[in-house]
């Protein structure tokens, strides 16, 4: 090689520039974007960089983070789950009803309610998966149906009213704050992300999620039945909707049939901003966590700027599109 000493480091050559650009556009790029946004708001909005504000942000991202964690599994397989918002509503009223049952002591009713929430969510998710896999129906349509079914079921079960009066111990746990800035519900969200990260990164199951999203036919011809893995992904998404319902109860202390409207879109946005490809096979759950943070930090930061609720969605919408455009650019880069 007749390159100069400076160049042997690989800097400045077209190949290495491509590599750097690719790196910046991938996971590290998303994290970097979050850091830049945080720095920007810290410098420009005086109240932003206070522990009080961070506490508020952590409270607000918990639900979306939990939903988005499950959504990541489904999107990685190449599917989509539009039902999580209304499944959350259904789970919240089921959980609240169990918890407020006068015949049960709180020590029994609370664990039972948590179980009921997660079981209801998982059942809805499993149903999504079964129908979509067995009849080969696009998950977009199946989960759109479930969105309506769960929403209606929530109203029927709750008699179309909010259910309050949750046990005091449960409410107190929801208000607990650890180390000054970490609310209990945020720690639940982190635990869900950690569990998801472990499953996707280290288990055989996680490997199949990526493999199916990358090329389902190749997995099938490699001698595997792919259906059960896809059903499992939808079940996990339903399960996290159930967990998100528990978080909802902890935070707002009421079960409501109109909870969660539009939450599925925030969850999808977090997954996509986090760098997971809508066509499946590529992405990470850590990216999803960062994506959820970006959405909330933007929202809070814009509010501090005095940008009202009317203008905010415009910016956030633009960010979502930008994230997908960056993804497309990234694909072109890696195709080279």
């Amino acid at each position: 090689m007749n390159s100069t000493p400076e160049r042997t480091e690989g800097q400045g050559t077209p190949a290495s520039r491509g590599r750097v650009a690719r790196f910046l556009l991938q996971d590290a790029g998303v994290a970097l974007a979050l850091v830049l946004i945080v720095i920007f708001f810290s410098l420009t909005a005086p109240y932003f960089a206070t522990s009080e504000n961070f506490l508020k942000i952590f409270v607000q991202i918990a639900i979306n983070t939990v939903l988005a964690a499950g959504m990541t599994f489904v999107i990685l397989t190449g599917g989509i789950d539009l039902s999580v918002g209304s499944v959350l509503a259904l789970c919240s009223v089921v959980g609240a009803l169990v918890m407020t049952n006068a015949d049960l002591a709180p020590a029994v009713s609370v664990p039972l309610a948590v179980l009921a929430c997660t079981a209801t969510g998982a059942a809805c998710g499993a149903l999504n998966g079964l129908v979509s896999v067995h009849w080969k129906v696009p998950s977009f349509i199946v989960t759109l149906g479930m969105l309506n079914i769960a929403s209606g079921a929530a109203r029927v079960v709750s008699d179309n009213s909010t259910i309050s009066g949750l046990p005091q111990g449960f409410v107190d746990f929801g208000n607990m704050i650890f180390a000054g800035v970490f609310p209990s519900i945020f720690l639940i969200a982190i635990a869900v992300i950690a569990a998801g990260w472990f499953m996707l990164r280290f288990t055989v199951f996680g490997r199949f999620i990526f493999a199916i999203g990358s090329n389902e036919e190749a997995v099938r011809l490699s001698g595997h039945a792919t259906g059960r893995f896809k059903i499992a992904a939808f079940t996990i998404s339903g399960l996290t909707a159930g967990i998100a319902a528990v978080v909802y109860l902890l935070r707002l202390n009421v079960g409501s049939p109109i909870a969660g409207v539009g939450y599925e879109l925030n969850a999808i946005a977090a997954v996509i901003i986090g760098g997971t490809s809508l066509s499946g096979g590529k992405g990470s759950i850590i990216g999803t966590l960062i994506g959820a943070c970006i959405l909330q930090v933007l929202s809070t930061g814009l509010q501090l700027f005095g940008i009202g609720d009317d203008f905010k969605p415009i910016v956030i919408g633009a960010v979502i599109v930008l994230a997908v455009v960056l993804d497309a650019v990234r694909v072109r880069f890696s195709a080279r």
């Binding site: 490997r207 990526f210 099938r220 595997h224 890696s334």
Partner: protein
């Protein structure tokens, strides 16, 4: 009318046409003949404006003809009727016919005029359907005629038909021929591509035979025999190429297939394979060779059939059953069906048997790395690391990754469909070596290939498919390109014309 001089077309890794020179006279019906991969499709694509030549000139009516889009070709009066028809299934026959020139006033379609024009066209070609019929209600033969009518409407002066009879019944073929003869009387020039030699003799005046991207000869058909035509198509010799190493013991039977039918209406296929054997599967594209192999491994449905592996009967309903029995398919299209392009080499290799490198459902990274690295070394896969995405490897190395994943699984019978397609020469040799090693290790290999010399060099035995049947089985001592090609090109033709 059409004159090509020194036309060259290269694709990455392959030269599809190496200086083709040919001429087609006005009003002539000219046959284009050649084995799979001889360059016919590429030639049509050049004429149809789908690809552009790298070198050489094409003249149409004495003027240079360099179409870069299909629209250019249409304007010049060149219409290609492809094997895969380009019909819009949910529109009416009339809309399909006149799609590029819908009668309209200010953007509103004038249906009366549309249907009138369409009816006249259908009448002219002798197709008896109402212009308002939806296209998906028509049979393949009728659709073919719609395509031809469409070509005529657009003043098609040069009509190129790519295997138009492949899916037609004899009666429909008769109709098609009547219409083609009528077109010829009207002065339309035809280039006719078919594997059926009988049709070529019946319809065409002259023939150009292609082989390995070059023109062998252009000859009048009068006075030629089928046998002579096949001899012209027979490709390069295998003199100093890869040949089967001697001394490999052929052992006990490892696979036995009896009465395999893909559907009720198709003939049954039976064959067997022994340990240490490499058996070639020859035949034209569409002869049922790939389809039979896919049914055998459960990739496509099998209607009935008894399969024995190592003397044990196995039921195969899915690829899972087949892989469980040790029957592993290396697919024709490795990118679409064989590999997860975005995932790493290691992930692609271990997907066939993750249980081997995991404990309690958790993948053991060290075990996975060791297994993948061992195979990468054994197969000499050139990759910077086992973490490299398969997308970034060359075709030959990608194919080796597919082989590696089946070696990892412990395949008993490897079924390879076009294992060296799109792979450079060096990598081909390595794939051959790996297949021999695999067979020598006491396994069996089936190789489907359109490259006959490849099969002659690689195999102990060759099965020849034609019309969904095995029409011949040739052992190595009797290997002869001419004989195998004759079998593949329907023995009936030869009886008729020799």
């Amino acid at each position: 009318m059409l004159r090509m001089r020194g036309v060259v077309k290269r694709f990455p890794g392959v030269v599809a046409l190496r200086g083709v020179t040919m001429e087609v006279g006005r009003g002539e019906t000219h046959a284009l003949l050649g084995e799979n991969g001889a360059g016919k499709s590429t030639l049509i694509k050049l004429l149809g404006g789908i690809e552009t030549p790298d070198e050489g000139e094409i003249e149409l009516d004495g003027r240079p003809y360099r179409p870069t889009t299909c629209a250019d070709a249409y304007r010049a009066g060149v219409r290609v009727v492809h094997q895969e028809l380009s019909v819009l299934p949910h529109l009416s026959v009339a809309e399909n016919l006149l799609f590029e020139d819908l009668p309209q006033r200010r953007g509103i379609v004038r249906f009366a005029q549309l249907h009138g024009k369409a009816a006249a066209l259908l009448d002219e070609i002798g197709l008896d359907v109402a212009p308002t019929t939806r296209a998906d209600r028509l049979s393949v033969a009728q659709l073919q005629l719609v395509e031809i009518a469409k070509a005529l409407y657009h003043d098609g002066r040069l009509l190129i038909l790519d295997e138009p009879t492949a899916t037609l019944t004899p009666k429909e073929i008769g109709r098609l021929f009547e219409i083609l003869l009528r077109l010829r009387e009207r002065g339309v020039t035809l280039i006719y591509i078919s594997h059926r030699l009988g049709e070529i003799f019946e319809l065409c005046e002259r023939v150009t035979v292609l082989r390995d991207g070059s023109v062998v000869a252009t000859r009048p058909l009068a006075g030629l025999t089928s046998s002579e035509l096949v001899r012209m198509m027979v490709g390069r010799t295998i003199a100093d190429e890869h040949t089967l190493p001697s001394g490999v013991e052929v052992g006990s039977e490892i696979l036995r297939v009896e009465g395999l039918r893909r559907s009720r209406s198709l003939p049954a296929v039976s064959f067997s394979l022994r340990r240490g054997e490499i058996v070639g599967v020859a035949g034209l594209v569409g002869s049922g060779r790939t389809e039979t192999m896919r049914a055998l491994v459960g990739a496509d449905p099998m209607h009935e059939g008894r399969i024995q592996v190592d003397g044990q009967a196995v039921a195969i309903r899915s690829p899972k059953d087949a892989v469980g029995a040790g029957l592993c398919l290396l697919t024709e299209d490795r990118k679409a069906q064989g590999l997860m392009l975005g995932l790493s080499c290691a992930e692609n290799i271990t997907i066939t048997d993750l249980a081997k490198v995991s404990r309690l459902g958790v993948v053991r990274p060290s075990a996975e790395r060791a297994a993948a690295e061992a195979l990468v070394q054994k197969l000499r896969i050139k990759t910077p690391s086992i973490a490299q995405a398969v997308r970034n490897l060359s075709g030959g190395n990608q194919q080796k990754v597919v082989l590696a994943k089946w070696l990892f699984r412990g395949a008993k019978v490897l079924i390879c469909d076009e294992p060296t397609r799109g792979i450079d020469v060096g990598a081909k040799e390595e794939i051959y070596r790996l297949l021999w090693e695999f067979a020598a290790g006491g396994c069996g290999v089936l190789v489907v290939s359109s490259d006959l010399p490849e099969l002659l060099g690689l195999c102990n035995r060759i099965l020849v498919f034609a019309h969904d049947r095995i029409v011949g089985e040739v052992p190595r001592p009797e290997f002869d390109q001419h004989r195998i090609l004759s079998l593949a090109y329907e023995e009936t033709d030869l009886e008729l014309h020799t």
